[in-house]
Structure formats: C-alpha cells, structure tokens
C-alpha cells in the first residue's frame, strides 16, 4: 500500500523525465523555457510531479529539479546565499514556511498574481495560506502542510488507562501514563529546529505566543515567551527531562531518532509528523518491523497543555515560491499552480506521507487507504499554531534553542526570561548568537 522508499519507480521517473526532455527539446530551435525547481529531498515525489506538469504544459515550459540540503536551516542557508547573489538559476523553490517571511521581506520572492492566488488559496487550510503570505500579499503557493500527531502503542495506552481514541490527552496525563508503564515518550530535544518546533507548540497550546508582533522591524519585536504560557511550556519540558521519560538521548534526538526509539521496545508514545506512518509501513514491508507492531499503533491529536483546552499542534510543510531573479517567472508560476492541484497533492500525500494543504485531497481514496488517520491530520492542521511569522525567525529559533537546550536544564522561572533577553538583544544587534 505504501510505495517503497528506494524503488525502481524513481529510475522510471528519471527515464520519463529524460524522454520528456528529449521530446520537448526536439520541439523547436530554442525549446520551451526551463523552470528549475529546487526541491527538498524526498523519495522522488516532487520529481514525478515535475515530469507530470512538464507533460501537462505541452511545450509551454519544462521543469527540472535540483536538490536542496536535508534540513530546513540548510535549505535556507543555501537559498539565501544564492538569492542574495541574485542567482538567476533558481526559478521555483520548495520553501519551509519558517523562512518565507524572511525571503519575502528581503524582496527575493515574486508576488503571486491575483488570478493564480485566488485559485491556489481557494479552500486551502488557513495556516498554509497564512505562512505563504507576507505584507498582505501571497508570496508563495501552498503545497503540502505538515503537522504532528501523538502516535502510541494501543496496548500500552490501554494498560495505562488512556482512551486516546476518544479522549483528548494532556501532557501531564501522558507523562504519568509513561511513568506508570515505565516507558518513554519519543520527542525531539536536539538543538535544532525540531526542538524550536516543540517549544513553540507547547507555548501556543498553553494559549501564548513567542512573539507578539512578528511583522515588526527587528528592533521593535516584542517577545512574549516570558509569560504564564511560556513558563507552562518550560514546566512540561523540565518534567519530561527530569523524570527521564524522554529517554537518555533526548537532548540529541531529532524526529528520525524519535521514530527509531518508538520502533524499539522502550518507547510507547511519540510526537511526530505523519512521515513516520509511511516509514514504519515501509519497514514492515521490508521485514524490519512486525505486522503486530503496526497493528498496535494508534494515533491521536497533539496533547493539550491544560485539560479542556485544544492543543495547537506544530505546523510545517512546504510552499512553492518563485524567485524574484528568475528569468521565467510566468512559467514558474504556472508550474507552481500545476504542481499544487488537489489531485497532485493527494498523489504526493499518498506516495510520500506528506499531508496536503487542501482539504479536497483528504477525500482521495488512495489517501484514505494509505493514511487511515487522514481526518485527524486535517483536523490538526486546522488547529495548528504557527511559528512566529517574522523575517527574523532564524534569530528567534536559534535564540530559543540556545536558551532552552539542553531540556534537562530548562527552568520555568529562568529559561523563558533568558530567552526573551537573549533574543531581544540579538534582534537589537547588541549580542552574538
């Protein structure tokens, strides 16, 4: 049911792309304009969409893909350096929402014209539109939208007396359940973006915000993490680290490490993106994990901070942006619009485990089949809490990481205040980071 990660499919795509290229190259003297699309690494899904849209364009344009680094900050660094150099080789980019504001503010993104904008935002999940917007203009086209769920072993949850299928759970209850069953909660406490994502989700879920006025200039940005919500978030992290329910490697564990931990014996709960479902299914198919384990996995919305309040799960994903220095912006915009149709989003979702940003895609039978938790994902996306949508998000995130890491040293009385001081001073240009 799940396309294998390493598969012959990829080489077929390559062949198809090559054939498409040869075919279109034969078409005319100069050939159609080439849209170079910088993609984040995946299992070949974006390459396939590129081939499809090249074909659908019938000679209007052709899309070739180029690969970005693995993690979002690496992608940002690489794109930022080249855009700052006004590199015309980049036409279309798969952008992590965290850096859209920064790129748009620097004037590196082409505004999406109204007709395309109306098309691609119609019905899309609000969060996906919000992160793709800067100064009231749509600067990127929502493609896929990511959020985290609580994944758990049904058997252990039952033992612990949790009815996760029907009842929302709080962090407190989750920690107690893990302790009572002597098991772990697999989280990502590594000093990377993943940790900032977790902190932000906790603060948002507690009803707070890390930054009050994300669209302000650097020296006017107000941090509001030193608040009750910030302290509650810190308490939860402190508790998890202190009680050891995050496991011994919490401070170096990323999402992938969390998944490996969950796949092992010692962990029964995990907060993670839906890619894990695709990955675990793949591992079962390869015989590295058992069917029994797969059947035992349940899913639920992100835990709440306070009982009776909805959680605000993390938001991630990818939007497509057109470089301001592209020689073929019109073709790139058309390509983007082609790539993000709900049908393509559904196909991409089913193949890669990266959820769609358009609700229609969730009704696709392939998606429903491959992701029985599709409805929970959509619901989580609608509740998701955004990371601060500011051009200085990199400073905010690194400042959070610097002050909140390692998790074991988090102190509700001190850490949020430290973060506020550090980030404020960094944004005022008074400190290093």
């Amino acid at each position: 049911m799940q396309r294998r990660r390493f598969s012959t499919g990829r080489s077929l795509i390559a062949v198809a792309a090559a054939v498409g290229f040869v075919a279109s190259a034969c078409g005319g003297e100069s050939g159609p304009p080439t849209v170079t699309w910088y993609v984040n690494p995946d299992a070949g899904g974006q390459e396939q969409l590129a081939a499809q849209c090249t074909e659908a364009a019938e000679g209007e344009y052709q899309i070739t893909t180029a690969l970005l680094p693995r993690d979002a900050p690496g992608q940002r660094e690489q794109l930022a350096r080249r855009l700052a150099a006004q590199d015309p080789d980049i036409d279309l980019m798969s952008l992590d929402p965290a850096f859209i504001a920064e790129f748009a503010d620097a004037g590196w993104l082409t505004e999406v014209p109204d007709d395309i904008a109306a098309d691609v935002t119609d019905g899309a999940v609000q969060a996906a539109v919000d992160v793709s917007t800067w100064n009231d203009a749509l600067v990127a086209v929502p493609f896929w939208a990511n959020t985290q769920l609580l994944w758990y072993r049904k058997s252990v949850a039952q033992e612990a007396g949790l009815d996760l299928e029907n009842e929302p759970v709080t962090w407190q209850q989750l920690i107690e359940a893990a302790q009572s069953q002597e098991t772990l909660i697999s989280l990502h406490g590594i000093r990377e973006e993943a940790y900032a994502v977790w902190i932000n989700a906790l603060v948002e879920s507690a009803g707070g915000q890390i930054v009050e006025n994300p669209d302000a200039p650097a020296n006017e940005i107000q941090l509001t993490v030193d608040s009750d919500a910030g302290r509650q978030a810190a308490e939860i992290i402190q508790l998890i680290a202190r009680e050891g329910v995050g496991g011994p490697g919490l401070s170096n564990q990323d999402e992938e490490g969390a998944m490996h931990q969950f796949n092992g014996e010692e962990s029964a709960f995990m907060l993670n993106w839906p890619f894990v479902w695709a990955a675990i299914n793949g591992a079962v198919e390869e015989g590295n994990l058992t069917e029994e384990f797969l059947d035992d996995i349940g899913w639920a919305p992100y835990p709440a901070v306070a009982e009776g309040e909805d959680a605000r799960p993390p938001y991630g994903g990818i939007s497509l942006a057109v470089s301001a220095f592209s020689d073929v912006p019109e073709a790139a915009l058309d390509a983007a619009a082609c790539i993000v149709t709900p049908e393509n989003q559904a196909a991409y979702f089913a193949a890669e485990g990266n959820p769609a940003s358009h609700p229609d895609a969730y009704e696709n039978p392939d998606v429903q089949d491959a992701f029985p938790m599709a409805d929970v994902i959509l619901q989580s996306l609608e509740q998701a809490g955004l990371r601060p949508h500011t051009p200085y998000y990199n400073e905010v995130s690194e400042g959070l990481q610097a002050t909140w890491h390692p998790p074991a040293d988090v102190d509700p009385e001190r850490t949020p205040a430290d973060a506020t001081t550090l980030i404020t001073e960094v944004l005022r240009g008074e400190r290093l980071l």
Binding site: P73, E77, A80, R81, A84, E102, F103, D105, A106, I190, R191, E192, P248, G249, S251, N252, G257, H260, P391, N394, E395, E398, H405, P406, G429, E430, R431, L432, L433
Partner: protein
Amino acid sequence: MSATKVEEPTRTTAPEQRSERARAERRLGWWLAGPAFVVLLAVTAYPILLAVYESLFKYRLTDPDAREFVGLRNYAIILTDPVWWRAIGVTLLVVVVTVAIELVLGFALAMVMHRALRVLRPAIRTAILIPYAIITVVSAFAWLYAFQLDSGFVNSWFSWVPGITPETDWFGSFGPAITVIMLSEIWKTTPFISLLLLAGLSQVPDDLHEAATVDGATWWQRLYKVTIPNMKAAVMVALLFRALDAFRIFDNVFIMTSGAHGTEVVSFLAYRQTISRLEIGLGSAVSVLVFLSVIVISLTIIRLFNVDLARARGEV
C-alpha cells in the same frame, strides 16, 4: 614570522664586476618567486583587509538596504558578549589539552619509528600516515558514530567502566562531548606531530647517546639530558604548528555537536554569524578577532619558549 631572530647572512662585499651579475640574480629571484608571493598575499592579506573593512558595518545579507557604518561597534558587541569569551575558553581548552597529549603521544610514536626494527618501519610509517592523510570530516564521523547512542559500540564495550552504561549519552553534555571531539582531533593530528619530532630525533647525534651510555646514564636520564634538549627546536616547531592548527578547530565540532552543549569554538562562532545568520558585519568582526588571536598566540609561544624557527630549519 617576523620575530625570527636571525640576521641576513652577511656576504662578503662583491667586487664591481660581480655587482651586475648580482643584480641580475636578484631580478631573476624575484621573477621566479614573485608569483607565489603575490598569490600568497592575494589569498590572505587582501581578504583579511576586506574583512576589516566589512567589520565596520552593520550589514545583514537579507537586508542590504539597512547597511550602515557603525565603526568599532561590532567589536564592542563581541568583546562584551560572554558567548565570545566562552568560545575562546573552549578553543583554548582544546588547544592546551590536545597539544599536551599529542606531544607526549607523538614523541612516543616518533621514538617507535626511530628505533623500531628495520623490517617493521615501513609498516609503522604507513599506519601512522593514514590518520594524517584521512579527511578530518571522515575521522569526525567515525568517532561520532562510535560513541553515538544509536550506532556506537563504545558503551557496550566499556560498560564495565564505572559511569558508562548502555544509555550514556556522550553528546548529551559538555564534558563527554568535548572529550570525543578532542579524541578525534588527537587521533588525526598526532601523526603529524610525531613526524616533526622524528625529524628532530634524527638530528640528535648518536655519539652523544653513546657517550652518555658509557657514563652509565639510565634510559630516562639519556632521554631527559641528551635527547630532549637536543631536539628542543623540533619540539617548539611542533608545538607552534599544532597549537595554531588546533586553534582553528572546526570540522570535528561541526560534525559532532554543531556547537551544542557549550562546545562552540571560535571558528564555528564566526561561521555561524556569517554563513548561517548572514550577518556579514558581525561575522567579519569575529573573523578579524580570530585572526588577531592567532597572532597573539604565535607571539606568545615564540616569546615564551624562545622558538627560533630559522635555527630549527638548520639555517644557522
């Protein structure tokens, strides 16, 4: 190093007819050596001057319009920031610990190479050269994976050591993390030191040893009284080279911790300001400060230990 204390070799004043030839030789000398000299300056002096210039601005790549001249303000920010001093502290710790261990270990290796059975020498030399020639990043990955929780064998091999359990997270706090970083650094660079020391060892005249042996000196006495004093120059060169090389440490930190748990070193700090944060002004200022630190360290070592590089090269 301008501090080398050797006067130009004095030549006997040339007769009239030779001066023409001397001038031609001088010209040819500069024609031949000039290109290399120009390249050396172009790839270092020019960039560092550029860095000095850029360090005087507040300049962020994502916001080029806001570029403004701020004088020495970037330096003031850095020098009053504990982040800088901490990075300096960590870097110096790495320098002192690794260089100390490497000198001892490198000396032992040099002795082994110097005195091993003739048939074993090529094998030992080859083995020693492998860490030297291997890419630092590869070494960093090897040590990282050896200690890392989800792939490493170290915890299971050394679980009998008190304090090491299968769950010991070596990259979970400063002490163990910096230890592994230094292990990789030491493994990779000790061979270089040992080769420098080997060169020094082979300069110690054999008859001195024999004389000492005849006088009834023990092995240790010979080592301390004869060998080491006679290779002081080589030791100092090794010390200077390695100390400054260790001060530049970057690859191991980047691969293993990315500066987490307080393991940030000065090179990494500079890299992050410029390359990650795109703060060209601030990053340039850090770079200039790192450069100045290297100068201070070289002068200190030269003064402190009275290193005479020219003498070390046997030019006197």
